[in-house]
């Protein structure tokens, strides 16, 4: 019984033999790379790139709920992208715009 269910999954038209499975699955790599980059100093982060990650994540989260069939895998991966992107943006903005006051105060 379990094997026939597994077989059904394996042979699914959006299953692991197809690009419909691997492309969205690999998209997790973007969030994983971003999480690895949480350790990077904010000076090395890229505003354009993080903005692209965040915006894409938000837009595609909506896209995945509007297509037929609804794609929860695509939804979750894009939600994660938006989340990691927003966090990286907040790190860089905090460093660029809110640390200046501290360093200026220290210099005085």
């Amino acid at each position: 019984m379990a094997t026939s269910k597994l077989q059904a999954l394996w042979n699914h038209p959006a299953g692991p033999k197809t690009i419909h499975f691997w492309a969205p699955t690999f998209k997790w790599g973007i969030s994983i790379a971003n999480i690895a980059d949480f350790a990077k100093p904010p000076e090395k982060l890229s505003y354009p790139q993080q903005f692209a990650v965040t915006a894409t994540g938000i837009i595609w989260s909506r896209y995945s709920m509007v297509i037929t069939p609804k794609n929860w895998n695509l939804f979750s991966v894009n939600l994660a992208m938006a989340g990691t992107g927003l966090y990286q943006l907040s790190r860089k903005i905090r460093h660029d715009y809110f640390n200046e006051e501290e360093t200026a105060a220290l210099k005085e």
Binding site: F26, D37, S46, A55
Partner: protein, 108 residues
């Protein structure tokens, strides 16, 4: 005029989510172009490498998905080119692409 109307009303046109999802992916390409003037030390090897694999997979996805999405294919083709270029800049900056005799022993 008729061509323009046909585009506006197309099943993958700007009234649909099949259009705006791919447009948001152009964000990665634009971010990549903006980052071309950055010194290689500022580039993230993690993110650039992941984006190279990601766009390659999604070029295939865009071709196989129904309706076939040429806009998505084009946005990922553009991103693939710029990310591969950035990856080569990052690798050269790290000393990975030098001939073996010239490679400095302390490069990481």
């Amino acid at each position: 005029m008729a061509l323009f109307k046909a585009f506006i009303n197309s099943p993958v046109g700007p009234k649909t989510t099949h259009f705006w999802g791919p447009v948001s992916n152009l964000g990665f390409f634009i971010a990549g172009v903006a980052d071309m003037k950055k010194p290689p030390e500022m580039l993230s090897g993690n993110m650039t490498g992941v984006l190279c694999v990601y766009s390659a997979l999604f070029m295939r996805f865009a071709w196989m998905v129904r309706p076939r999405n040429h806009m998505l294919l084009a946005s990922h083709a553009l991103n693939e080119s710029v990310q591969l270029y950035q990856l080569s800049r990052w690798a050269k900056g790290k000393g990975y692409l030098q001939p073996k005799e010239d490679k400095a022993p302390s490069s990481t």
